[in-house]
């Protein structure tokens, strides 16, 4: 493969300006993450400690193999939601290695509202299970939760992807041979009691762990029976009398050791063999990405400069380089693995659509994973392109993205607007992971366009009523719309709502992809099976 020849000059002023700007952006994110990673209030931590309990992040660190990466999913979920009181949505999820296997870990954070489930908490828990299902990962649930957050029960309990779905997923995964293990380190109450009960194997910790359908207050209210938690559903009860749990652990450390033993005895599947050679670091320093991302999103930049800083030895074998140039497609290696990469260099045209669809076909037939680097303002519009059948060609691409048999990974590196988001494998198209850069924006269209459209609609309404608006009045209508739209398309807004799997440091994109690609190979890549392409 040929090395990409970068035309970036790292000593020019523009580079330095962009570098500073983007470095500042990621610093903001890192600062927020650092606070979030402390979990709940200091007081909750103290209470936790007094009871001899570990913080959920400590539990994860202890359960992981020495030196294991931890690919955390959606660490900033629920950011600025629910009055900012639910850091990480009260649940830590991510993939790490336990006894040599990649395992999806779901751990309640007891220090955040007693580990109760807010709507986003449920969404995050289910997202973690979907990742496990799509990539064939066994699951570990570290259970320490008071169940649904009652004031918001209507957003937690009844719907398809609400609380019940968690148990459904556990059953389905178990039926597919994906090991489900629970370590109960605190409460598993009401519906929550099913979490350990639905697992294949379950460990409960003495004194602190408790599983019951109705806790002591409910029992007293309903039947008058007075009983304490340990006697009602503690470790001794469940491992000796009821059989709800399988292993009795004297303390959390012992429970964690047991978890590691269980995973050590779980057969380790072979990874799906895709083409791989010895990995090489990129020739161009990934750190230079900060100096390439424009400091205003409208400014275009060549996505090849980003590819050069993500792939092995900066080598890229470009496909159809001279045709449909607003889409850049080609083969490269990441961590030694052969991958196909699709990036954007402008709006999508009919030619760029068919080119992308063709390239996806190539990768699908050869079982080469696909990476999408999204920086897309949308499909080209206008009479000429409608006549040319833009939606028809766009549909080919969307068809291919939807039904390809290979794992897909999406990184939003700039704009993610409109149908461009679909073609470039947005959330709705089931990429195995979707990461977002701090500078990126997502929405049905750019905020300026959106504000213009909505303002036009308002002006028309007034016109029908016979009113003409002054420029000042128009501005007064437009500005709040613009502001609202802008906020709602920010990366932070997106990540809080789990539209993505996390905002990542652009310079670490390569590592995120290496880990994601490799863990995706736990699942066999199936055969090609496309639908009807509109010709």
């Amino acid at each position: 493969m040929a090395k990409i020849l970068s035309s970036i000059n790292t000593s020019d002023e523009n580079f330095k300006k962009r570098y500073e700007h983007n470095k500042e952006l990621i610093k903001e994110i890192e600062d927020i993450k650092a606070v979030i990673k402390n979990g709940g209030a200091k007081k909750s931590h103290e209470v936790n400690k007094e009871r001899g309990k570990l913080f959920c992040r400590q539990r994860i660190e202890k359960v992981l193999d020495k030196g294991s990466p931890f690919l955390e999913v959606a660490p900033m979920a629920a950011y600025n939601m629910y009055g900012g009181e639910v850091p990480s949505a009260g649940i830590v999820t991510g993939v790490g290695r336990v006894s040599g296997r990649e395992v999806m870990i779901v751990a309640n954070d007891q220090t955040v509202k007693g580990g109760t489930y807010y709507p986003v908490t449920v969404k995050k828990h289910i997202r973690a299970q979907h990742i496990a299902m799509e990539n064939n990962l066994p699951c570990l649930y570290i259970v320490d939760s008071g169940g649904a957050y009652l004031p918001l029960q209507d957003g937690v309990f009844p719907d398809k992807e609400h609380f019940g779905n968690i148990f459904y997923n556990q059953a389905v995964m178990s039926s597919k041979g994906l090991l489900q293990v629970a370590l109960v380190t605190g409460l598993a109450t009401a519906g929550g009691a099913y979490q350990p009960a639905m697992c294949d194997q379950c460990i409960i910790v003495k004194d602190t762990g408790a599983i019951f359908i109705g806790g002591p207050p409910l029992v007293k209210a309903a039947t008058g029976e007075v009983v304490d938690a340990e006697e009602l559903g503690g470790a001794d009860v469940h491992t000796r009398i009821s059989g709800v749990a399988d292993y009795y652990a004297n303390d959390e450390e012992a429970g964690i050791r047991k978890v590691r033993e269980i995973f050590a005895n779980y057969p380790k599947g072979e990874k799906f063999p895709i083409d791989r050679v010895s990995p090489k670091e990129p020739y161009y320093d990934p750190d230079e990405i900060y100096g390439i991302i424009p400091d205003n999103l409208e400014a275009p930049y060549d996505v090849r400069e980003i590819i050069a800083r993500i792939v092995d030895n900066s080598e890229f074998e470009e496909f159809k380089a001279r045709y449909g140039q607003t889409v850049v497609a080609g083969f490269a290696r990441i961590g030694g693995y052969l991958v196909g990469i699709i990036g954007n260099n402008g709006a999508i045209f009919p030619e760029s659509s068919t080119k992308a669809a063709h390239f996806i076909e190539l990768c699908s037939f050869r079982k080469i994973p696909l990476i999408f680097l999204q920086n897309i303002t949308g499909f080209i519009i206008g009479k000429k392109y409608e006549h040319q059948g833009m939606p028809k060609d766009g549909a080919k691409w969307v068809h291919a993205v939807s039904t390809t048999n290979v794992p897909k990974f999406t990184v939003i590196v700039g704009n993610s607007y409109g149908a461009g988001n679909y073609a470039m494998c947005g959330r709705g198209f089931n990429p195995r992971f979707l990461w977002m850069w701090p500078n990126s924006r997502i929405g049905v269209m750019g905020h300026n366009q959106a504000a213009d459209v909505l303002t036009q609609v308002k002006i028309k309404q007034y016109e029908r009523e016979g009113k003409t608006l002054s420029e000042k009045e128009i501005e007064n209508i437009r500005n709040p719309i613009l502001e609202d739209y802008k906020n709602k398309s920010e990366a932070l807004y997106s990540t809080a709502r789990l539209w993505d799997d996390g905002i990542i440091d652009p310079a670490k994109t390569r590592q995120y992809l290496m880990l994601s690609i490799e863990l995706s190979l736990n699942k066999k890549i199936g055969e090609v099976n496309f639908g009807i392409f509109r010709m």
Partner: protein, 500 residues
């Protein structure tokens, strides 16, 4: 890809070890057929595994194999070879070999034999540089009527007095002022007379704190010629380079440009049409003087490749087969970061660098960001006594000198070759020496710091070997294949403690 369009050639590499591997890889990347040769001692050499075909050329002694022109040509003819790449060393600068290759209707991957001849002799090369208007180290032969003081003043002190007929350092004297000159001239003449039966003496300007800095050039058959950022090669032991870096800390971009332009003048004078190197000496006042031209690819070429992203070997092959070059000289002048190379020899630094040949029992290679390893060894391979004991070159590239030094040091500390003695820890001591870190060093560096550059860690090698065998006997599986290469590590093992 673009190379698949070109006609497939059969190219023979008349060399061995790391450089043979480097060239064989380039040939295959270009889409040609790569052909190796080997001697008795190299029957299991790793370089054979990088070739499409390999042919035996003779017994272990170099004169009977890699230096055996008749035999190599015979093998080449028999196997329908289109071109021969000589590498470095062995026959690389042998005009006769180049002539025979060409007269046998094969392409010589190197310059025209005439150009090789022109600069093959130091005195001829000096004359050529002079006529190209490139400065040479000033010197004057002292006739019997010449006033030594005038002659000396014309050159400027300090001065080296040599016997005109002499060599090997005999009768050489350094004089730093007029007084010392007067004291020494007569003695030197007498010494010259008694030693060489000729009292003629020669004054040469003595360069103080000299630097050995060289310019890589690349030229084609159409008159296109380019120079690359300088390589600083002042770290030498026994007049052989051991650490090279680019760019140099001694000269600035303007000076590099003037040296580059001077290098082009020299090679244009001899109608040069391949990859080559023009070597210069630079004194403490940054004056540069022509030294010689190397008409081959050099050991240290990767340093230049790393900071420019240009594959010199592939280009050298392509120009030999008639491709023209097209670079932007201005963009070549800006180094992309900094690169440094450490030459790993199977030598014992403590015992005056005597070769330490033998079988490699344990071979672990370094990995990491910006690290390139050009090696020609593997576990189980026996470093032959017959040839240059180079094992490999570790090249580190960083965004600046600080980073590449750090990366090189880390890589060297991860590089283990047992039980041979190597230059690894010696070089680690060089690059962590405060003067080296500051970039303040000249060709005297190793001699000046000799004592400090040895490492007692060498003593632990037998212990390390013992541990290795012990662990092996305990049934610890090692992570290495039979060829000594590491098995591919999973990313999940490799990205230790990644937390995003």
């Amino acid at each position: 890809m673009e190379y698949s369009e070109c006609e497939k050639k059969r190219i023979l590499v008349a060399n061995r070890g790391e450089i043979a591997i480097r060239i064989l890889k380039a040939i295959r990347e270009l889409g040609h057929t790569a052909i190796a040769i080997y001697s008795d001692a190299d029957k299991f050499s790793p370089h054979l595994t990088f070739a499409d075909e390999a042919y035996y050329v003779g017994e272990s002694e170099a004169s009977k194999s890699y230096l055996n022109i008749d035999r190599i040509i015979e093998v080449a003819k028999k196997n329908k070879i289109d071109g021969i790449h000589p590498g470095y060393g062995f026959l690389a600068e042998n005009t006769k070999f180049a002539d025979v290759v060409k007269s046998s209707n094969m392409v010589w991957v190197g310059p025209q034999p005439k150009s090789m001849y022109d600069v093959g002799d130091k005195i001829r090369a000096r004359e050529i540089a002079k006529s190209a208007g490139v400065p040479i180290i000033p010197g004057v032969t002292l006739g019997s009527n010449t006033d030594p003081v005038d002659a000396a003043k014309g050159l400027g002190f300090p001065i080296l007095i040599k016997a005109s007929a002499g060599g090997g350092g005999k009768g050489m004297r350094i004089v730093r002022d007029e007084r010392e000159l007067i004291d020494n001239v007569d003695i030197a003449r007498k010494e010259a007379e008694s030693s060489f039966a000729d009292p003629t003496i020669y004054f040469e300007k003595l360069l103080e704190e000299p630097h050995h800095i060289e310019i890589q050039v690349l030229a084609d058959k159409f008159g296109n010629a380019y120079y690359f950022p300088e390589r600083e090669c002042s770290i030498q032991r026994r007049y052989q380079k051991i650490v090279e870096e680019s760019p140099s800390t001694t000269i600035d971009r303007m000076q590099a440009k003037s040296m580059g332009e001077a290098a082009l003048k020299v090679i244009k004078e001899i109608a040069y049409d391949s990859a080559g190197t023009v070597e210069f000496m630079v004194d403490k006042d940054k004056n540069f003087y022509f030294l010689e031209v190397n008409t081959r690819i050099q050991v240290e070429h990767p340093v230049t490749e790393e900071i420019t992203g240009i594959d010199l070997v592939a280009n050298q092959i392509e120009v030999a087969f008639g491709k023209s070059l097209s670079f932007n000289q201005d963009s070549l002048n800006i180094p992309k970061g900094h690169a440094i190379e450490a030459r790993i020899y199977a030598e014992d630094p403590v015992n005056n660098f005597i070769p330490s040949t033998g079988k490699i029992d344990y071979y672990k290679i370094p990995y990491g960001a910006g690290i390139r390893l050009d090696d020609g060894a593997c576990k189980g391979f026996e470093i032959p006594i017959h040839y240059d004991p180079i094992i490999s070159k570790v090249i580190a590239r960083g965004k600046d000198r600080k980073q590449s030094l750090y990366r090189l040091h880390k890589a060297l500390s991860d590089y283990h070759i047992l039980p041979l003695k190597t230059t690894i820890s010696f070089i680690m001591n060089i690059i962590k020496h405060p003067e080296f870190i500051k970039g303040c060093y000249d060709t005297n560096f190793i001699n000046k710091n000799y004592e400090k550059l040895f490492d007692e860690n060498e003593e632990y090698i037998p212990l390390a070997i013992a541990c290795y065998y012990y662990l092996g006997s305990q049934g610890f599986s090692n992570e290495y294949n039979l060829d000594g290469r590491e098995t591919l590590k999973e990313c999940w093992q490799h990205l230790t403690n990644f937390r995003g």
